[in-house]
Each structure stands twice: as structure tokens, then as C-alpha cells.
């Protein structure tokens, strides 16, 4: 990939970037263990090539595609996004990849496609954390169609100009920067266009704590901690959390008229 030639996106932030070492050693990826150091240690067992992605549901062109065919039609661009974890920490990460909307359009979703459902690989041999029932495997996430088609929603195949490390969700992951990090599902093997709101892994595990939308919102606390502030990795003082993680100008209109306390 001619990464050096990548144009800077208008969506990128110019805030200081979190060091590569921290981005790749401090991860929540329960498929490899519940400790944040586990993914970096154990994700080596994940085989990312060959890799297939199945696209199904309410679309004209479903099928199972080799990863190369998923990626090939899209150029690669860099997006430097803030990432805010629901646990109260944040990073700034330069992702490489392409816009989710461009990918989804290729499969020609029908008018019945109201939501997009994403699924992570399920294979306890490659993902030892799946031997324990800490979550309902495989990991499932979802977006409303208009959220998925928003230009900020991104499919990452790399970070810092390098191939995406396994612990960060290789070979293909979602990045939705205005939502808490767990919405940005990793190591995707299935994309489904569906008519009804899909159940998500964290939503099923603790419905009172992890809603379907999970937009970053300093006004709506997590039941066990405040979401007003966050610790940017590498900083001593906490900083205030911004509405929609600082992307309110771009995405607030998606939720106009919605009670964000109810649809947390």
C-alpha cells in the first residue's frame, strides 16, 4: 500500500497521537482474555490469511468474499480518530482503511435493510478467550443504517501505516469514533443487512449498562462510574469527555428528537 501517499482526511484530528506501543498493548479484546495485556500476548494464534467475509441479509449482492476482494476496490486513506473506551480512557489513533459506506453500497442493500449487523470470528482454537463463556460468542455489534452510512464510520485494515496487528482486530475492523470503543467490532467475518435492531454481545450481557447506541455522552453516566471525564492514555490529568466524543457537529443530527438517556 502506498501509505505515504495517503491524503489527510478532513475528519482527522491533529491532537497528539497515542504511541504505537500503547495502542497495541492496551486492548480490550475478550476473545484473547479479559486483561488489557492479554490480546498483545495471545493474539498471535489468530490466522488472518486466508480470511473470508460473508455478506448476507437484505441486499441484492450477498456472498462470501475473500478479504482481498473486500478491500481491493477501495483506496486506503488515513483517519486520525479519537477513541473513547466506555471504561473512561481514551486514545488518538491514526487508522488506515476506507469508508464503511463505500463498502456497504457495493452489496446494494434493499429498502428492508434498516440495520447492519457485524460478527467476529468464532474459533476457540485461534481465540483462546472464547473457551470461557465471559460473553455470548461470537461477538456481535450493530449500527443503524444511517449510522453505518455516515462518512465518519470507517473500516480499518491498518494503523500507523502498518498492517493492523491482531490484537487491534486484524484483518478487518470497524471504527465508529463517536461511540464507545466496544461498538468498533474487531476481526469481522460476517456483515448482515437486517430489518430489526440486532442484539449485541455487551447489550445481552448487561442490558442496563451497554445500550445499542452507546454514543459517547458525558451527560449519561454508566451505572457504575461517571462518563464526564476521561484519562487520555499518557496524560496525568483527566480531560472532559466531549459530546459524541467531539464529533457532535458531524453526527448529532442522526439523533435529533431522540431521548439519549433512554436510547443510551
Amino acid at each position: 500500500l502506498p501509505l505515504a501517499a495517503q491524503a489527510k482526511s478532513a475528519f482527522s484530528t491533529d491532537e497528539g497521537q497515542t504511541p504505537y506501543k500503547d495502542v497495541t498493548t492496551y486492548n480490550n479484546f475478550y476473545e484473547f482474555g479479559t486483561d488489557k495485556r492479554d490480546p498483545a500476548e495471545y493474539a498471535g494464534s489468530l490466522v488472518t490469511s486466508p480470511w473470508n467475509v460473508t455478506v448476507d441479509g437484505e441486499c441484492e449482492k450477498p456472498g462470501t468474499f475473500a478479504l482481498e476482494d473486500i478491500i481491493k476496490p477501495h483506496g486506503s486513506e488515513e483517519r486520525i480518530y479519537r477513541l473513547r473506551c466506555v471504561e473512561g480512557w481514551s486514545m488518538v489513533i491514526p487508522w488506515n482503511g476506507f469508508q464503511l459506506s463505500a463498502l456497504l453500497k457495493r452489496f446494494q442493500p434493499t429498502s428492508k435493510a434498516k440495520y447492519v449487523r457485524f460478527e467476529t470470528l468464532r474459533d476457540p482454537k485461534q481465540m483462546p478467550g472464547q473457551k470461557r463463556n465471559v460473553l455470548d460468542w461470537p461477538y456481535v455489534e450493530g449500527l443503524r443504517m444511517d449510522e453505518a452510512m455516515h462518512p465518519l464510520a470507517f473500516m480499518a485494515t491498518g494503523l500507523y501505516g502498518k498492517e493492523l496487528p491482531n490484537q487491534n482486530g486484524a484483518p478487518l475492523r470497524l471504527v465508529v469514533p463517536w461511540k464507545y470503543g466496544f461498538k468498533s467490532i474487531k476481526s469481522i467475518v460476517r456483515i448482515s443487512f437486517v430489518e430489526t435492531q440486532p442484539g449485541t454481545s455487551w447489550g445481552r450481557s448487561a442490558p442496563s449498562e451497554y445500550g445499542f447506541y452507546s454514543n459517547v455522552n458525558p451527560e449519561v453516566d454508566h451505572p457504575r462510574w461517571s462518563q464526564k471525564r476521561e484519562r487520555r492514555i499518557g496524560e496525568f490529568l483527566k480531560r472532559p469527555t466531549l459530546m459524541f466524543n467531539g464529533y457532535a457537529d458531524q453526527v448529532a443530527s442522526l439523533y435529533s428528537g431522540m431521548d439519549l438517556r433512554k436510547h443510551f
Binding site: 500503547d22 498493548t25 488489557k36 448487561a206
Partner: protein, 215 residues
Amino acid sequence: MQIREPYFSKVFKPAVFVLALTPLAWMVWGVWQDALGANPIEYVTRSLGEWALRFLLFTLLISPLRRAAGWTQGMRLRRMLGLFAFFYGALHLLSYLWLDQFFDWAEIWKDILKRPFITVGMLAFLLMTPLALTSFKAAMRKLGRNWQRLHTLIYPLTSLAVLHFWWLAESKERLAMPLVYAVLLAVLLGERVLRWLQRKMPLLRLELPRVLRRS
């Protein structure tokens, strides 16, 4: 099993004291050397809390050890272990007040009222404070029989500390460690309940081994 004098007071006890300080030394060194991962503040806050809990359990282990193995000298370490629990607990609380909340007292108060895991954590520390304050010989003499009664607070406060850890980890499915502590606490408390039952009902003394075998 006993350690000969003067080795117990001159070597063993000081060694336990130094050993009890190594977790703190490791944290200080780790912060200095940037060896605690991407989020050292979280690491320090969590470890301080875990060490407070561990020292509470060490403290609770002393009298069963005397009863089971006849190791009476342990009683001479108990106050020190209890005070280390308080020491790590106080540092854990300080790290929350300072590094997590930056002494924003309004937010802290809201946190205590609104979040059960903070409420029980605070309560555990609150109950531990009078125990630390009355851990000296003079206080023991002055309180007499009431000293013993006061210090049974260690049972509810350690239970609250385990609950504090449990509730923190619960919905993120990180229950492995809280479960370990809950089981250890259950064993330590269970031993006391059994002894209490034996005292109340002498007949049980004969029956108990069979009960134990069944479980």
C-alpha cells in the same frame, strides 16, 4: 511449629515488614521506569486496593493458623498485617480521591451516593479506621473486652471489600480474581462459623467431620 528466639523478633518479623513493603516499592519503581503498561495510574490504583484486600485476608489467616497448626507466634504479626491492610487501603483511597477525582468533592460525594461499589468501598475503609486507631497497647488496655468486640468489625469490612471488588468487575465479566478472594474469605469465615457452632453445640464436635467429608 515455632521459630526460635531471637530469630523470630530479630529476623522473621522485620523480614515480613520489608516484604510487606515490596508491592509499594514495585509500584514506585514501575512508575519511575514506565513498566506498568499504558495506564500506570489505573494499575497503581487497582494494585493498592488489591493489596489492601490481601493484607486483610493475611490478617484473618493468623488465628486459624494458630488453631490448625499451633503456630502461636503468628499472633505477634497480626497487628502489623492489619496495619498494612490499612496502609494500602488508605493509599488506595487517596489514589481514588486524587488521581481519579482530583479532589472534586462534589463529584466524589455523588459517586459515593450513586454507585454501590464506591459506597461499599468507602464503608469498608470507614470501618477499618477505628481498628487501626485502636491497634496500640494502650488502646487495648483501655477498651478491655470491648477491644475484642470492636475488632470483630474485620469480618464485615473484609466482606465489604470483596463485594467492592466484585461489583467493580461484575458487568465487565472480569470476575476471576474477585472470585478467588470471595472463596478465600468464605473459607476463613467458615472456619470461624464452624468453631462457633462447635462451642454452642458440643454434640456437633462428633458430627462435624462427617459433614466436612460430605462437602
